[in-house]
Symmetry: C2
Subunit: 405 residues, 2 copies
């Protein structure tokens, strides 16, 4: 049940016509998908967040930065249909008002609420609709509504994306759950990624802020290429202590076990984003080993997973492994071409500086599977990493050629 | 007449079936396009070259680096149909042999010959075919064959790409001509770009080596995104002194005038590469001003011109200017969002931190033209730059999904 899987979290949703009103409608369409959700924790959470590196940031991202400084978050309000980005001073007022309206409905202070938005850029929020949506969502709060919340944040996503896990710690058993939205496009320039992971673990203050970046680096950042981030990208990690365990402190074995559990939940969601790329038909997993460092391995894996030529070759079932070698070559990672080892679907296609005699038909067959694994060893050191992507299809172009209209 | 426009240069071509033999054919197909050319200068040239930054380099690129150190180049041999990359020790032998065979035919030393290759990666050169092609091309040398040479180097290009110009210097009148091949793709990972500019100006030794990088930065590098380079990218600049002028020295007004002329020839060719993107229907020109520096302006302009979401929006005639603002935001260039000014086809769509009330129909109309100009002012400093790209169409996917087969 996603963000309400862990104890002490409830969610509520509403269908308030944000996309329609943003586009100029005068009334809510009769067939309206839910487009706003509120998540409430029974108690203040230790919270960590990472946000877009884009110099143009949504007003909601700026507000969240401020509110996180107090580290006493109790609620999230998230809307789809309008990104509240490039909206100037009015945008900040609207984001602040979203926090305040949610706080008023739940008897909190506004800085206990974080705000996220996703949708079209450069249009003002239809605040009349948002106001009624927040009221309705707050009246709908229930521990059983986690999956509804995952649906309310979808934009071009074809499926809701959630994950959950229980972890046994020496301090006791804790629950971890999450939801996210996003699409693993060619370069996810503007496919805003929103992700939320909640746990009922009790933790020392600041632990979630310390964990959120390493978790993102091993999951969402391996789908959403660094530097190509949208105006709204957000990943939040909340721990509310509802499990009643002895608080977990940084550096302890329990902290490591909790982080491993959070990484697993995050990776499952990251893979579901890659798999749900716009027009995608296949999930591509790229594993890189033998790099100078883990971060160089990340670079190399992302480079292959985001190469439009690798993506189109795989879409066409074309065993053109030269494109993979090329993408490794321009990734910036050190590699020893004479020790480079490359396999596709378990078949070695390149080693000792040259291509292997392979059964091209078998490689083509591997490319035609719904999941494709590419494994590269760079021959330099011990660094490893994984990245995920999808194939690039004609359907991608059709979806993105006509998004606002 | 392209590379033979300047005095003292001749070119010859041959159709030797390199692509067919690479793919395993036993005989040259009857309908064979020309796929090899030789360019000969009457005298030794001052030569500058810039090459791919990919860690995986074609054997020909490595050989050229070595031969350039002697700075006495007299001939080029260039083939399409096989990239001679990822071919190990055999690849180096083959590239050296191409230089030697050309030198033998023309009574030169091998280090006076530069070699370029473009085509499929990871297959050995069919040297029997190449040997006969070099012989035929050397027998075909003629000052009238410059346009034929431009056709011989094409791969997925739909048109040959050439440019020429005469420049009046205080030292006298000189000619500049060039040819190139390449396609302005989403990210030109592997669309190898080869470009050659020849001039009959007499110059002090080393002047072309000093000019080649600044020229590339204002032309070809604004199409071919840095870091996303293929294994074979090459840009060579040759001056043979045939005009008989007083040699031009670095830092002189004549050097500046010569460089300006070379930049103009290079920019015309760079734009023709962008326009000839695989499946492209439109040329996108992005002009950025008001940046902290020219190089930050370059970053920003390239970021917009290479954004797949901007490209698809323009393909669909969708006036989604938020994607342009987003691409500027993740480019890495400093910008002041409250002073950002953005226009599409002369219409202002964004200023003072927010979108303008614009006639979306008129913006859509601008996007539907064969040439689209996007102008952004970042509000920071005086840096300016230009970049070029093409729209992203379903046809791009079809071409690249099935390239080797």
């Amino acid at each position: 049940m996603a963000v309400t899987f862990a104890g002490g979290f409830r969610a509520g949703t509403a269908a308030c016509g944000i996309k329609a009103f943003t586009a100029g409608a005068k009334a809510i369409p009769t067939e309206q998908k839910s487009d706003l959700c509120v998540v409430l924790s029974e108690r203040a959470c230790d919270t960590g967040g990472v946000f877009t590196t884009n110099k143009v940031k949504s007003a909601s991202v700026v507000i969240d930065h401020l509110h996180l400084q107090h580290n006493r978050v109790r609620a999230l309000v998230i809307n789809s249909g309008n990104a509240n980005a490039c909206t100037g001073a009015q945008g900040f007022k609207d984001a602040l008002l979203m926090a305040k309206l949610t706080a008023d409905n739940l008897d909190l202070d506004p800085d206990q609420v974080l705000v996220s938005s996703t949708g079209v850029i450069g249009r003002y929020m239809p605040m009349q609709a948002v106001r009624s949506g927040i009221e309705a969502a707050c009246a709908d709060l229930d521990a059983a509504h986690g999956d509804d919340a995952a649906r309310a944040i979808m934009t071009t996503d074809s499926v809701p994306k959630t994950s959950s896990l229980e972890v046994e710690l020496s301090a006791g058993r804790v629950k971890i759950g999450g939801m996210c939205k996003g699409s693993g496009m060619i370069h996810p320039n503007m496919a805003t990624m929103l992700a939320y992971i909640t746990t009922d673990a009790a933790v020392a203050p600041g632990l979630m802020a310390a964990m959120v970046k390493p978790v993102a680096d091993r999951s969402f950042n391996q789908v959403s290429v660094d530097g190509d981030s949208s105006t709204n990208d957000t990943f939040l990690l909340l721990a509310n202590g509802d499990a009643g365990n002895r608080p977990i402190t940084a550096g302890s074995p329990d902290a490591a076990a909790l982080q491993a559990g959070i990484v697993e939940v995050a990776q499952i969601m990251a893979r579901s984003i890659a798999r749900d790329g716009e027009g995608a038909t296949k999930l591509i997993t790229v594993r890189v080993g033998g790099a100078a460092s883990d971060s160089e391995a990340s670079l190399a894996a992302r480079s292959v997973a985001s190469s439009s030529l690798v993506k189109t070759a795989i879409h066409g079932g074309d065993p053109n492994w030269g494109r993979i070698v090329c993408a490794l070559g321009y990734s910036g990672a050190e590699m020893a071409i004479d020790r480079l080892h490359l396999s596709i679907g378990g078949m070695v296609v390149f080693e000792r500086g040259g291509g292997m005699e392979v059964d091209l038909g078998a490689v083509r067959h591997a490319f035609e599977q719904p999941e494709i694994e590419i494994v590269a060893t760079l021959g330099i050191g011990d660094g490893i990493a994984e990245a995920w992507g999808c194939d690039l299809s004609e359907e991608y172009v059709r979806i993105n050629a006509d998004y606002t209209t």
